[in-house]
């Protein structure tokens, strides 16, 4: 067993940290206040290769491993959650699903531009009437010759108005024996006729991010854009979540670190009753909890990254990581605000933004309740991993460079 990061990992960490700290940190507050994305951020992440970090070079990626993906997410979210959300949906939900389930032609056609950051991807599952209950979705696709006709609406979709492509799961067989066999996934060109998108405003957090809706009215999607077989959409969506949740867990770890670092700085400077507040045990208790939770969250996501590198299924471990880190990040931000006293309640400091940004991740990519149900299912033996027709490929340092 080896818990150390390789030199390569450390250099990746530093590179992404330098980018986020130098370019994003100075401007994020202003964009969060205005509720507007930083217009150049996604493009810049593409230029630097961050968006395609874990894809093989032959598919337009940077040929790094899955641990590097996690490390990048931690560094990005330590500055702002909206950057990590891009990784979750573009790289995790969309790109990695293409890597796992796409045919060679689909990888060449869709994954290559996504890995290069030339096209932006999203993942669209949630609808106005459903979120957790994936099998209950109402958007439909019906086959007519060589095309499928899509109708319906997806809501709460990150990058809805920014993305070029979305991995969309819809109902193709309302009569299916089991609801989970009724679904099929597609990669949909969001510039197709009949697609409309828009942004949602008034969000509690990720205000410098784009979250919106996509509506489909008789949208013709070629059969070549179907990912997997008809009826495989539920499994594909669950695989997409395994990848997306990993990035969420890793990112939330960065948010814990950000709250911890801000708290340490402030607690050493702020004095009450003649002493820096860092000297009071009640403050130390909060700091110790953040430090401990940071360590736990970090180990949990690195375990998942390691399992992915080995080609092992990590649905359960990903669930532990995602649930633990997102809840701990909210708690850490809450404690950080408390340590900052009234200043923590103001957007003069970053910690109030951390709290608002941490909240959403306890809901999206499988709420904490859904994670609990998954974990209990494994513990009670009601749930186990069955082999998938297409597994996420293990990381291979040599073939990844080809």
């Amino acid at each position: 067993m080896d818990f150390s990061l390789s030199q390569e990992h450390q250099m990746v960490q530093k590179m992404v940290r330098d980018f986020a700290q130098k370019e994003i940190a100075p401007v994020i507050k202003e964009h969060d206040r205005k509720q507007e994305p930083i217009p150049w951020a996604i493009k810049r992440m593409g230029e630097l290769g961050i968006l395609g970090i874990c894809f093989p070079v032959r598919y337009g990626g940077q040929g790094m491993d899955y641990i590097s993906l996690g490390l990048a997410c931690e560094e990005l979210e330590a500055v702002d959650t909206t950057l990590r959300v891009v990784m979750s949906v573009h790289t995790g939900l969309c790109g990695m699903t293409l890597l796992q389930w796409g045919t060679e032609e689909q990888k060449q056609k869709f994954l290559v531009p996504i890995a290069r950051g030339e096209k932006i991807g999203a993942g669209a599952f949630t609808e106005p009437g459903m979120g957790s209950d994936v099998a209950a979705m109402q958007t439909t696709a019906r086959r007519e010759g060589d095309v499928y006709i899509l109708n319906g609406e997806k809501m709460w979709i990150s990058l809805a108005s920014k993305a070029d492509y979305a991995l969309v799961t819809v109902k193709t067989d309302p009569q299916a024996a089991r609801p989970s066999q009724a679904l099929t996934s597609f990669i949909v060109d969001l510039h197709s006729p009949g697609v409309k998108t828009g942004d949602l405003h008034g969000k509690l957090g990720v205000r410098a991010g784009s979250t919106g809706w996509i509506s489909f009215t008789d949208v013709r999607v070629p059969v070549e854009n179907r990912i997997g077989e008809e009826g495989e959409g539920f499994k594909i969506t669950m695989s997409a979540f395994d990848n997306g949740r990993y990035t969420v867990g890793a990112g939330a770890t960065g948010l814990i670190r950000a709250s911890l670092e801000a708290s340490i700085r402030y607690a050493q400077e702020r004095k009450t009753f003649g002493k820096p507040i860092a000297e009071y045990q009640l403050i130390q208790q909060k700091i110790a909890r953040m430090a401990q939770n940071y360590e736990i969250a970090r180990l949990l996501y690195l375990q998942v990254g390691w399992m992915k590198n080995q080609g092992l299924r990590s649905t359960l471990q990903t669930s532990y990581s995602k649930k633990f880190a997102t809840e701990a990040s909210f708690e850490a931000a809450h404690d950080a605000i408390q340590i900052h006293g009234a200043y923590g309640f103001s957007d003069e400091y970053d910690v109030e933004r951390y709290l608002r940004n941490a909240r959403g991740a306890i809901i999206y990519e499988g709420s904490s309740e859904i994670q609990t149900i998954i974990q209990a299912g494994y513990a009670l033996g009601q749930r186990s991993d069955r082999p998938l027709r297409c597994e996420l490929p293990a990381y291979d340092p040599d073939t990844w460079q080809e």
């Binding site: 390569e8 250099m11 590179m15 940077q62 790094m64």
Partner: protein
């Protein structure tokens, strides 16, 4: 164009450097590539992009100086060399310059030798000129831009008093300021290459010279005396009144 860029591993600029038992100490602070050298690597890569050729990063130091070299490789340098020898101890800038000149000779065929304007630990900024002197090459220091035409180089120098245009023949030694733009981030491909690179180590025997003798030694380092600083807020009903009070104080304290 054959370009050498010299890089040094120094304590992070955020580190608090103090004297302990006559030696410099910086606690647990990490060592990083000298920030000025990062600009030099950037400038070297720009020259390579403009004229073709190679960029070789070279550092004198212990094994951990490889980190600075790996950073240069990750940014895009073609190769790197570490110069390390147990006999190299307590060197002054003159001794370092002798070593660097020997390295330049051993590499051979070098057109341009790049330095950052100074290292943030010693802060002397002397090494580039001293190296040029030993090599008998022109020293184009504080370069803000570099234009190469054939074997002639024109440099715009930037210093407090203004700007100066100078030209010289290659090969030449350059020390560089920040005007070449922010150093690029390492690319992922560069990171992979750097982390796998086997960096060769040259010893004095490889250079064919004895350890140069320092002429300046640092028998001991002492911390500057700590100063008591008092902070006083001057208040008043109007800006006028505050300014008057301040002026009186400054006169009373004989500052004015």
């Amino acid at each position: 164009m054959k370009i050498i860029v010299f890089v040094k591993q120094v304590p992070d600029s955020a580190a608090k450097v103090t004297a302990e038992n006559g030696q410099a100490a910086w606690g647990e602070a990490p060592m990083v590539i000298n920030p000025w050298d990062e600009y030099a690597v950037e400038a070297a890569l720009q020259q390579k992009e403009a004229h073709g050729g190679t960029v070789t990063a070279i550092s004198i130091g212990s094994e951990n100086a490889k980190e600075a070299l790996k950073h240069a490789l990750a940014m895009g340098a073609d190769d790197a060399i570490l110069v390390s020898d147990p006999a190299l101890k307590n060197l002054d800038t003159q001794a370092i310059a002798r070593l660097l000149a020997a390295i330049v000779q051993k590499v051979g065929g070098v057109d341009m030798a790049f330095f950052g304007r100074q290292a943030i630990d010693g802060d002397s900024g002397l090494t580039p000129t001293q190296t040029a002197r030993i090599l008998g090459w022109p020293a184009l220091t504080l370069a803000a831009s570099i234009k190469v035409e054939g074997s002639t180089v024109t440099v715009e120098r930037s210093f407090e008093e203004g700007r100066q245009i100078v030209s010289a023949n290659l090969p030449a030694v350059f020390s560089l300021v920040k005007d070449f733009g922010e150093p690029r981030y390492p690319s992922f491909m560069g990171i992979r290459k750097a982390s796998r690179a086997e960096i060769p180590t040259w010893t004095l025997a490889d250079l064919g010279i004895a350890a140069p003798t320092p002429v300046v030694s640092w028998p001991t380092l002492i911390n500057p005396p700590s100063r008591e600083v008092k902070c006083e807020f001057i208040t008043g009903a109007s800006a006028q009144e505050i300014a008057e009070k301040l002026a009186d104080k400054l006169i009373a304290e004989k500052v004015l």
